[in-house]
């Protein structure tokens, strides 16, 4: 049997396993633990150098209400939502359609189009920094949520199209043919037959894109500045500047900022079900 249950291994190995595993886990989680711990300390603790010791006071409620009342964290979070949600919807909508077209239809240059979508993923985005910033400036979209969202949609659609195209390719082609013979129009085939079967792919990509865009720091700092448009990743650091090294507030903000992707994952995970096409064929 594979893997052999740990109870059937030698005693020495069992002891090693039982001590090594918790140590590895704690080391792995150490940065998170540190942030969580810092977020409930008082500012005094941090200036006194008490980073790892027992906190002198537990400021859980005070710190977490501070970041919403005394800092613009709320508006940073709202900016993140305004960038991320349209990006997820936009990139998924576009890639469902482009993926369907590339998977189902044969046309001149279809492979070329597909490879361009794929190749876009291989461009290191750092080299695009200056041209994209200039472009958004010229279009009047610099330092706006719209500009950031549009850029993300454009950049995410490439990967999403690759994913969607391959997913649709794996669906039984006879479903489409059966529908065609029955007289179902192409857009109805897409909307009523293919799209319902793409739910797992849409859910998986939604989580992926949401996490990626929510956590994006690079473009957030390149294309935006100031609390009226900056998302939370870029905004977090500015919490520090308003007071003197308010690391306890930055930590609390970080924890809050990390929650939405986790929430989205648990919200959508029930859609990650394989075998939606069960019963379609054979």
């Amino acid at each position: 049997m594979f893997p052999t249950p740990i109870e059937r291994r030698s005693v020495a190995l069992q002891r090693l396993y039982k001590t090594a595993l918790p140590i590895a886990m704690v080391m792995w989680l150490l940065p998170l633990i540190a942030v969580a711990l810092t977020s409930i300390r008082s500012a005094g603790d941090i200036t006194a150098g008490n980073y790892w010791g027992w906190p002198t006071s537990f400021n859980l409620i005070q710190n977490y209400s501070d970041i919403f009342t005394n800092t613009p964290l709320g508006s940073y979070m709202w900016n993140s939502v305004r960038v991320t949600v349209p990006t997820v919807i936009g990139a998924l909508a576009l890639s469902c359609m482009s993926g369907f077209a590339l998977a189902v239809y044969k046309f001149k240059g279809d492979m070329l189009v597909f490879f361009m979508f794929v190749a876009g993923n291989f461009v290191p985005f750092q080299i695009l920094m200056v041209p994209v910033r200039d472009l958004t400036l010229q279009m009047g979209l610099y330092n706006s949520v719209t500009g950031l969202a549009l850029f993300h949609i454009a950049f995410q659609t490439g990967f999403c199209t690759l994913f969607m195209r391959n997913f649709i390719r794996s669906l039984p082609v006879e479903l489409i043919e059966a529908a065609r013979v029955e007289g179902v129009k192409e857009w109805r085939i897409f909307w009523f037959i293919i799209l319902p079967l793409m739910r797992p792919a849409i859910a998986a990509l939604a989580v992926l894109v949401f996490t990626f865009i929510w956590n994006d720091y690079f473009w957030a700092t390149v294309l935006t500045q100031g609390a009226e448009s900056q998302p939370v990743t870029a905004g977090l650091y500015s919490l520090n500047g308003q007071w003197v090294a308010a690391w306890h507030l930055v930590s609390a903000g970080s924890i809050v900022a990390a929650l939405p992707p986790v929430a989205i994952f648990f919200l959508l995970q029930k859609h990650f079900i394989a075998g939606l096409t069960l019963g379609a064929v054979k």
Binding site: L278, G279, A280, V281, K282
Partner: protein, 350 residues
Amino acid sequence: MATINLDQLTKSYGPDEVLHHISGDINDSEFVVIVGPSGCGKSTLLRMIAGLETVTSGEISIGGKIVNEIEPADRDIAMVFQNYALYPHMSVRENMAYGLKIRKTPKDEITRRVNEAADILEIREYLDRKPRQLSGGQRQRVAMGRAIVRDPQVFLFDEPLSNLDAKLRVQMRLEIRKLQKRLGVTSIYVTHDQVEAMTLGDRLMVLNAGYVEQFDTPIELYERPASMFVAGFIGSPAMNFLTATGGDGLVILDNGTALPTRLSTSGPVIAGIRPEHLIAEPEGVLPVRVEMLEQLGANTLVHGVLDGSDIPIVASVTGIQSLPVNDVVRFTPGPDALHLFDANTERRLS
């Protein structure tokens, strides 16, 4: 109900021609089976008739109307796919009703036709289930139901039974036959299974490597195969082929045996004898060295070689027979059992 006419139909993928000048007329209410080995182009031909593949040259007419450029939806056909292709997210009822809904059929009319089809196919109690909750045979019935509710001019079947187990296949075969006779809808059925083809078809179109070998009734294919390919494909176990030399009213096998025939031929010919037409006789002209027996109960297949050669011979004798392996048993072809083919063209000499 409609006739289907195929006129010099050709299909090419790039420079490769896969179907060569296929012609044939299918009558109203007729059940035609296209049969052939894998890769002979039978599915491609069906898909061309359905409109899922383009026609390279030639013409397809349904009901006297050329349909080459007409979309599948407008050909008034219904197709049953090998893997059923049921919409997995819709219930059985929705699966069957969808095509009608698209055509804006009134709601009560849809309900009436779905229920009627469900009664015919005995799937009434599954109407609200999803395809994944059904067994293979039930899914097959739903796929058929989806075809018959539309009341089309033509049914197209693409190996619909090949995913079922053997027993169910025999049962469904009979049901399809009965259903087609009852509805009287012109049908084209593709299969690689010659037994299925023989039992279902009013006429069979035997395809080989993109050519029509013969297009005739099952009995005619069996009794007068037009080529060695048809002779070998129709009938199980396959026909024995022996090289021979033609003569006046007889053919001489390579081992010197002379077999009488009504034909006068000359030069090299191929003599074909079906295994079930070989009769064991002490005075038989064909000495067969037995190598193996297959006892099937109703009959016994004797596998051997023509004595003194390595030409394989299969004979089918009735009942359970125990013949000693390595012994020589003599067989005689029954009257009119000999089929002669030209050794070069492999066509029938008649």
